[in-house]
């Protein structure tokens, strides 16, 4: 029996307002430790909304997100921030690096915010992360001196900085050329192979095919779940 890193139970996210809208409509999901899960679905189907819930960027209207066995619905705002800082790295479609800082400083940001390591340790880790993503010589460049693919890789390095259990990425290659897309996917694959859990939203069926498991979302619900068997088994265990 393998450990479950990330679990969603009856997850619902509604938007109140003049036109009430259900972004995520009852999703049950379990992701094993070290699993690479791809989420596909048409535009506007609620993939990003689901990911924000899984990454604790947003709070569900109903249901529960369990991260490393810990339910999160009762956590305070600062406790949720701590989970984001240490357990769950987020990669956005747009890189969202701080423009005034170098690649290295951007990668150091979560480590500095956590304040668990000494400055030399942090620098060493930051440089080795950038190096492993092929950005060794770009450590001291600012985001506007980098290409789109390079920026996205810096963003991945930043997400990895505090060694989170889980990496959540929302169309990380959506704005990239083919070569960069391949690079980024290989990196994500490697991360999963090294034992970290990866959940990634993508439009690209070829890329989704390289994941351990795929779920297809339509109108905020899981329409289809395919993969190498493990997925369903885990789901059953979880429910």
């Amino acid at each position: 029996m393998s450990e479950i890193a990330l679990q969603a139970v009856e997850l619902v996210r509604r938007i109140e307002g003049d036109v009430a809208h259900t972004l995520v409509n009852g999703i049950d999901l379990s992701v094993k430790k070290g699993e690479f899960l791809a989420i596909t679905g048409p535009s506007g189907s609620g993939k990003s909304s689901l990911l924000y819930l899984l990454g604790l960027l947003d709070a569900p209207s109903e249901g529960e997100v369990i991260i490393c066995g810990e339910p999160t619905s009762k956590l305070s705002e600062s406790e949720r921030a701590d989970v984001r800082l240490t357990k769950c790295g987020f990669v956005f479609q747009f890189h969202f690096l701080l423009p005034e800082f170098t690649s290295l400083d951007n990668v150091l940001l979560p480590m500095r915010a956590a304040g668990k390591m000494s400055e030399p340790e942090m620098r060493e880790r930051g440089l080795s992360l950038l190096g492993s993503l092929g950005l060794g010589e770009h450590a001291n460049k600012r985001p506007n001196q980098l290409s789109g693919g390079q920026r996205q890789r810096v963003a991945i390095a930043r997400a990895l900085a505090n060694r989170p259990e889980i990496i959540v990425a929302d169309e990380p290659t959506g704005a990239l050329d083919t070569v960069s897309t391949q690079q980024v996917f290989k990196i994500l694959r490697d991360i999963a192979d090294q034992g970290q859990t990866v959940v990634v939203v993508t439009h690209d069926p070829a890329l989704a095919a390289r994941a351990d498991r795929r779920i297809h979302i339509v109108d905020g619900k899981i329409a289809e779940s395919t993969g190498q068997g493990g997925g369903e088994a885990v789901c059953e265990m979880a429910t």
Partner: protein, 412 residues
């Protein structure tokens, strides 16, 4: 904290012009407020110093605080009495010499007797009501600054000329008399006395310079028609601020009404309180206004950095930590602004102190008196820093409260 400072620094250092405007705003607020504080307190202290120098610190009068009980009251247990002649000759202070020597044994200062009365001065057809005080020149030097206020002649000259008097320059000018001239003094009971002007003084307080005349005890007592009477003792203390306390003790001991300079000038001092309040309000408003530039900058930065705020929050930085970045930015602007403001304030004060103005009270040209006080710098700086922090807090709170998804959704 270092991280927050780093981020804050990049924000302000990439906006040089805006940052400088903010700092200039703070500097000017601080500078002008310090200047105002120095000027206001300087002039006030100057005035008080003059007042304290000119007036006796405590005056003991030959009267009681309440109307003395009438003998008839005690004898007949009368219910009510009216039309009692309570004014006649002034009773004078009984055994003034022994009262004075007893006071001298404990008060931190000195005491001198005087005979105070009113009279009319008549010269060349001009008749002016004045206040005549008979003094003892040897003792007077211990209780008043009259000796240093003499412009012509000396206090001792009183005894050298027949019925000598000292008058204020302003009065002399009004009457057109000079030292050595003779004037006619007329007392309440019609007693007339030819007096020689033995000297002129200038106290700086117009009310005194225009209507106060000093003579020896003798002539004053003649004018009053009461020879030998001492109706006033005047005290000068080493520390004028003790006057109220000492006056109360003196009154308790002697039973005579003792008035401290503070009590005698209560209306003036209370007008100071009102003035202080107004000035403090204005200075506070100046500091508050000067931090508006800071408010403006922080508002702009938080607005421009909405996305960065969302990123930092989504990465897991706590809301208060992100908010602190902007408070630090305001503090950087504030601290630098305050430092320059201190320099500006000092220079302004220094500049003012070089300006001399004609003082119509004293008729002299004197430099503006400025009070330099580290307290001004500390208090003004502190308040200004608080204003800056407040100016940053509200926009920062508003900006950092936003849920990161709201901005990230919009951006992607």
């Amino acid at each position: 904290m270092k991280l927050l400072f780093n981020i804050a620094w990049t924000h302000v250092s990439t906006r040089v012009r805006q940052t400088l405007v903010g700092m200039a705003g703070v500097s000017m607020g601080v500078g002008f407020t310090i200047m105002m504080a120095g000027l206001m307190q300087g002039s006030q202290l100057d005035f008080l110093r003059q007042l304290v120098d000119t007036m006796p610190h405590i005056t003991i009068e030959d009267e009681r605080r309440s109307v003395p009980t009438q003998p008839a009251d005690q004898e007949y247990a009368a219910v009510q009495m009216s039309d009692i002649a309570n004014v006649g000759k002034r009773p004078g202070i009984k055994y003034p010499e022994s009262v004075m020597s007893s006071l001298r044994s404990w008060i931190p200062g000195d005491v001198a007797p005087s005979a105070k009365s009113t009279a009319i001065i008549n010269h060349g057809g001009a008749r002016i009501g004045i206040s005549l005080t008979g003094i003892d020149p040897r003792r007077e030097v211990h209780v008043s600054k009259l000796a240093t206020q003499m412009r012509e002649g000396k206090i001792e000259d009183l005894s050298r000329s027949p019925n000598g008097i000292l008058m204020g320059e302003a009065l002399a000018e009004k009457l057109g008399v000079k030292t050595g001239n003779t004037v006619l003094l007329i007392g309440g009971q019609g007693i007339q006395l030819n007096s020689t002007v033995a000297g002129l003084f200038r106290s700086g307080l117009r009310s005194i310079d225009e209507s106060q005349i000093y003579s020896l005890m003798g002539p004053a007592q003649i004018i009053m028609g009461q020879s030998g009477v001492v109706n006033q003792l005047r005290l000068r203390l080493n520390d004028p601020m003790l006057a109220q306390k000492v006056a109360a003790q003196v009154e308790a001991q002697t039973g005579y009404k003792s008035v401290s300079w503070q009590e005698a000038n209560a209306d003036l001092l209370s007008s100071f309180t009102v003035r202080d309040f107004i000035v403090l309000t204005v200075m506070g408003a100046m500091l508050l206004t000067s931090s508006f530039a800071t408010y403006n900058i922080i508002s702009t930065i938080t607005h421009e950095k909405r996305q960065d705020i969302a990123i930092m929050k989504s990465l897991g930085m706590r809301e208060y930590a992100v908010r602190r970045i902007f408070i630090i930015e305001a503090a950087i602007i504030g601290v630098v602004g305050i430092l320059f403001g201190w320099v500006l304030g000092y220079l302004l004060c220094y500049g003012w102190s070089k300006i001399t103005i004609f003082n119509p009270l004293t008729g002299t040209t004197v430099p503006l008196s400025i009070h330099y006080s580290l307290t001004h710098y500390a208090v003004v700086g502190g308040i200004s820093l608080l204003c800056c922090a407040g100016a940053a807090y509200f926009p920062a709170r508003k900006a950092t409260r936003v849920q990161p998804v709201e901005i990230i959704r919009g951006a992607s």
